[in-house]
C-alpha cells in the first residue's frame, strides 16, 4: 500500500485551520501556522478554491471555508426521494408538452430511469422505471455528463457505441457537444438513440446548485422538433421550467 499523499494531508490541515479560526485568514497566516512555504500554501488554497472547499474574500484576499464543503455531507439525494419531490412537476411537464417524461440519475456510467410519466394520450405504455440508458445518446445522459464532472469517467477514451448514424461516437465531438450544453443549460438528442425519436432534457439541481439528476421529454421527432429539425423552442421552455421548479423545491436557490 502506498504511503499517505502529502498534498492531501496539507490540504486537510488548511481546512482544519480555517474551520478552527473564527475570522478569515490570509495566505501568510496560513503558511506560518502550518510551517509551509508561502508559494506551497498559495497553490493548495487555489486548488481548494477551485473545487469550492474554500472561498476568498475579494476585498481583503483572505480565505474561509467554502459553501460546497458545508453541504458535502448532506448533498446525497435518495433517488426515491428525488421522485417524490419531482412528481408534481413531472406530471405538469407531461400535461403541458403532451409527451412522456423521464427523470434520470447516473448509475455506473449509465442513466438510471428513476421516474416515468406516460404520454397523456391514454395509449398503452409500460413503466420504464429502473431501466438503464446510455449516457452519450440520450438527452438526459448528455445533461448528466455535461454537469456532473464525475459522470463521464466511466465512458473511457475510446470510440462510443453507435446506435444510429447520428449517435455521437467520437469523444472529442462529445466534449464539444457537452460544452455547448453547459453554455445553454439544456440538451437535445435528435435520432441519436432510435431513428424517428428525439428528446430534450435539463438539469435538476439540489442544495448549492449541485446537479442531482436530469428531467426530460422524449417522443416522435416530428413532434419534438420543428420543420428545420431543431428542438421546438416552446418544448425547451417547458422542460427548463420544470427542471427549475424541481430544483427550487430541492433547495437550489439560484436556479
Amino acid at each position: 500500500m502506498p504511503g499517505p499523499v502529502q498534498s492531501i494531508q496539507r490540504g486537510a490541515a488548511i481546512l482544519r485551520l480555517l474551520a478552527r479560526s473564527s475570522g478569515k485568514l490570509g495566505v501568510g497566516e496560513i503558511a506560518t501556522s502550518l510551517g509551509l512555504p508561502r508559494g506551497t500554501a498559495h497553490g493548495l488554497l487555489r486548488t481548494l478554491q477551485l473545487v469550492g472547499f474554500v472561498e476568498q474574500d475579494s476585498a481583503t484576499g483572505k480565505y474561509q471555508l467554502g459553501a460546497a464543503l458545508l453541504h458535502l455531507g448532506t448533498s446525497y439525494l435518495d433517488v426515491n426521494e428525488l421522485r417524490s419531490r419531482a412528481i408534481n412537476w413531472a406530471d405538469a411537464l407531461a400535461a403541458r408538452s403532451c409527451e412522456s417524461v423521464k427523470i434520470g440519475t447516473v448509475l455506473d456510467g449509465q442513466v438510471l430511469v428513476v421516474h416515468h410519466v406516460f404520454r397523456p394520450d391514454d395509449t398503452l405504455q409500460t413503466l420504464d422505471v429502473g431501466s438503464l440508458m446510455p449516457m452519450h445518446a440520450t438527452a438526459l445522459g448528455k445533461v448528466l455528463l455535461a454537469f456532473d464532472s464525475g459522470a463521464g469517467a466511466a465512458l473511457g477514451n475510446g470510440p462510443l457505441e453507435a446506435f444510429t448514424r447520428r449517435t455521437i461516437v467520437a469523444p472529442k465531438d462529445l466534449t464539444r457537444s457537452l460544452a455547448g450544453i453547459r453554455e445553454v443549460g439544456w440538451a437535445a438528442q435528435v435520432e441519436e438513440m432510435t431513428v424517428g425519436e428525439a428528446g430534450i432534457a435539463a438539469p435538476i439541481r439540489g442544495h448549492g446548485g449541485l446537479v442531482v439528476g436530469a428531467i426530460g421529454i422524449s417522443g416522435a421527432v416530428e413532434r419534438i422538433c420543428d420543420a428545420k429539425g431543431q428542438p421546438n423552442t416552446a418544448l425547451v421552455t417547458f422542460v427548463r421550467d420544470a427542471a427549475r421548479a424541481v430544483s427550487r423545491d430541492l433547495g437550489a436557490a439560484r436556479w
Binding site: 435518495d78 400535461a95 406516460f118
Partner: protein
C-alpha cells in the same frame, strides 16, 4: 382576455395548501404551510383554528404571486378539508372557544359507549349511514357542550357556532363576525352523525339523541354551488365548492359513474366507491356517505373504507425507529431484499378501522427470526398498506356485488413504485395513477370551476383525466393466497390486546 384559473384550498390534517390550476386541470403553482399538532393528553389531538386561518392568509396570496396571476383572473375558489374535525367559535368575536378537536382524537370513547348503550342508538346508523363512533363530529360537539361552562346556553341562543374546517374558512373568508356565511356542504355534513342521509337535512331525532342545539349548526348546501364572494384574503373571488377531502379526491379522479373507485394513500388510506343515486348500506364494515352533490342535482352516494394507518406507518419507521431519513427512502431500503423474509407488520396503532372496526386491537410485528433485517421490516411496512387495501376491496366487492376491475390511486405514497406494484399484485387488478397526483386539490378546483361555468360539465372534466402510470399484477396466484393467509393470521393476533379497564 387574460387566462383564468381556479384556486383550491386543501385544509388538511398536517398542513394547508393552495394550488392554482389551469383550464386543462394542470397545476400552475403550489404553496403550503404546516400547522402545529397539539397532544394535550394521550388520545387527544387538537389544532389551533386561528393558526390555520393565518396560514391561509399567507399562502393564498403567495400562490397567486408564484403563478403571476391577478385576483381578477381567479374564476373561483374550491375548498377541500380534513373531515370531522370539530370547532366551535363565538359568532360576535370570531374567536374559537377551544382548539379544534381533530378527527383522530379519541377523547369521546366513554361518551360514545354511554350513548351506544341507549335503546335509540340503533337509529343512528339507519338514519345517517355511519356507525356511532368517536371518529365523527357529533360526540365531539356533545363533549364540548358538556365540558365548556355556559356553552350549551350560548349555543341555544345562537351566539356560538359549530363547524368543520370548511365552515370555519368560508365564514372567515366571507367576513367573519361581520356577516360571514355559516354553511357546510353535504359531504362534510354527512360525517357529523347529525344528517339524514336521504333528506340531506339536519335530523331532529339525531339532534335530540346527541343533545346538539340546531341554532349552532351551519346551513347544509350542495358541494358545488356559488356560496358567496370572499371579502378578505382573496377579495371579490367567488367561493364555488366545498367537499370533504376524500370526496374531493373521488371528484378529482373523475369517478363519476357507479362502480368507479379510488384510493388515496396519505397518513391513512381511504377507498371510496361511487354507488350512484342510492345509498348502499354495508354489511361488511364499510361506511355509507355522500360522494358529492352538484348544484340542485340529486346527491351521489359512495361506500367508503377508511384505513387508519398507511403512510403513518412509514412515518413511524422514520421518526419512531429512525431506520430511514426521509419517507421515500423506505423504497430504497425495502429493495435491499427480495421479500418480507416471513415478517408481517399490522399497524393497529389505535385499533383497526375498515373492515374490522376493532378499537381494542393494537399493532404487532410477527414472524421475527434472526434472519430479519431492517430491509425485511421496510418491505413489511409497505406490504401492510397493500394487504389492508386488499381487505377493504374484498369488503367492497361483497357489499356492491361487483368485482373491482382496476383501482385509481393518488396521494403521496403513489410516488413509491414498489408499493404500487405490490398493491397491483395483491389485488390482482391494474393500479393506475392519474396525471395529477394532487387529486384532493384538483377535485375541489373541479367542483368550484363547475359551479361558476369555468368547466361546462362532468364529461368535460373526464377529458382532463389522463393516465400517468400503470402497474399490472405480476404475482403468482398461489403465492398471493399464501401471503394473504399469513396476513390474515397476523391481523387476528392484534385483536383483543387492549383489555377493558377494571
Amino acid at each position: 382576455m387574460a387566462t383564468r384559473y381556479v384556486m383550491s384550498i386543501d385544509q388538511g390534517t398536517t398542513s394547508t395548501r393552495c394550488i392554482i390550476f389551469d383550464q386543462q386541470g394542470r397545476l400552475v403553482s403550489v404553496t403550503q404551510r404546516e400547522h402545529r399538532q397539539h397532544f394535550p393528553q394521550p388520545g387527544w389531538v387538537e389544532h389551533d383554528a386561528v393558526e390555520i386561518w393565518r396560514n391561509l392568509e399567507r399562502i393564498a396570496p403567495e400562490a397567486l404571486r408564484q403563478a403571476g396571476v391577478g385576483l381578477e383572473q381567479v374564476a373561483a375558489i374550491g375548498i377541500a378539508n380534513q373531515r370531522e374535525t370539530t370547532l366551535v367559535w363565538d359568532r360576535h368575536t370570531g374567536v374559537p372557544l377551544r382548539r379544534a378537536i381533530v378527527w383522530q382524537d379519541t377523547r369521546t370513547t366513554a361518551l360514545v359507549d354511554e350513548l351506544a348503550a341507549r335503546p335509540e342508538a340503533s337509529m343512528v346508523q339507519k338514519r345517517c349511514g355511519l356507525p356511532l363512533a368517536t371518529y365523527f363530529s357529533a360526540p365531539r360537539i356533545r363533549w364540548l357542550l358538556d365540558e365548556v361552562p355556559g356553552l350549551r346556553e350560548r349555543a341555544e341562543r345562537g351566539e356560538v357556532l359549530f363547524g368543520t374546517m370548511e365552515s370555519w374558512l368560508i365564514w372567515n373568508l366571507t367576513g367573519g363576525p361581520d356577516g360571514g356565511l355559516h354553511l357546510t356542504d353535504v359531504t362534510n355534513a354527512s360525517r357529523t352523525l347529525l344528517m339524514d342521509l336521504t333528506t340531506l337535512e339536519w335530523d331532529d331525532d339525531l339532534l335530540d339523541f346527541f343533545g346538539v342545539p340546531r341554532a349552532m349548526l351551519p346551513q347544509i348546501r350542495p358541494s358545488t354551488e356559488t356560496y358567496g364572494v370572499a371579502r378578505t384574503v382573496l377579495p371579490g373571488v367567488r367561493i364555488g365548492a366545498a367537499l370533504g377531502d376524500q370526496q374531493a379526491a373521488l371528484f378529482g379522479q373523475t369517478c363519476f359513474a357507479p362502480g368507479e373507485a379510488k384510493c388515496t394513500y396519505g397518513t391513512g388510506g381511504f377507498l371510496l366507491l361511487n354507488t350512484g343515486k342510492d345509498p348502499v348500506r354495508s354489511t361488511h364494515g364499510l361506511l355509507t356517505t355522500v360522494g358529492y352533490q352538484v348544484g340542485a342535482e340529486p346527491a351521489v352516494y359512495a361506500l367508503e373504507a377508511p384505513i387508519a394507518v398507511t403512510g403513518a406507518l412509514v412515518q413511524w419507521f422514520r421518526d419512531g425507529l429512525g431506520l430511514i431519513n426521509s419517507a421515500p427512502e423506505i423504497e430504497t431500503l425495502a429493495k435491499t431484499v427480495d421479500d418480507n423474509g416471513g415478517c408481517y407488520i399490522v399497524p393497529a396503532f389505535a385499533g383497526l378501522f375498515a373492515p374490522h372496526w376493532r378499537s381494542e386491537a393494537r399493532g404487532v410485528i410477527v414472524g421475527l427470526t434472526s434472519y430479519i433485517t431492517k430491509g425485511h421490516l421496510a418491505r413489511a411496512v409497505l406490504e401492510a398498506t397493500a394487504w389492508q387495501t386488499r381487505e377493504v376491496v374484498d369488503a367492497m366487492n361483497a357489499d356492491s356485488g361487483l368485482a373491482l376491475r382496476g383501482l385509481k390511486v393518488d396521494g403521496g405514497m403513489t410516488a413509491d413504485n414498489l408499493l404500487m406494484q405490490c398493491i397491483a399484485d395483491v389485488l390482482d387488478v391494474p393500479v393506475v395513477r392519474p396525471m395529477v397526483a394532487e387529486t384532493v386539490s384538483l377535485g375541489a378546483a373541479y367542483a368550484a370551476g363547475l359551479a361558476v361555468g369555468y368547466w361546462p360539465d362532468l364529461e368535460g372534466l373526464r377529458r382532463n383525466w389522463h393516465r400517468a402510470a400503470q402497474w399490472l399484477p405480476a404475482m403468482d396466484p398461489a403465492r398471493r393466497e399464501s401471503e394473504y393467509d399469513n396476513w390474515r393470521r397476523a391481523v387476528e393476533r392484534t385483536f383483543g390486546w387492549l383489555q377493558p379497564r377494571r
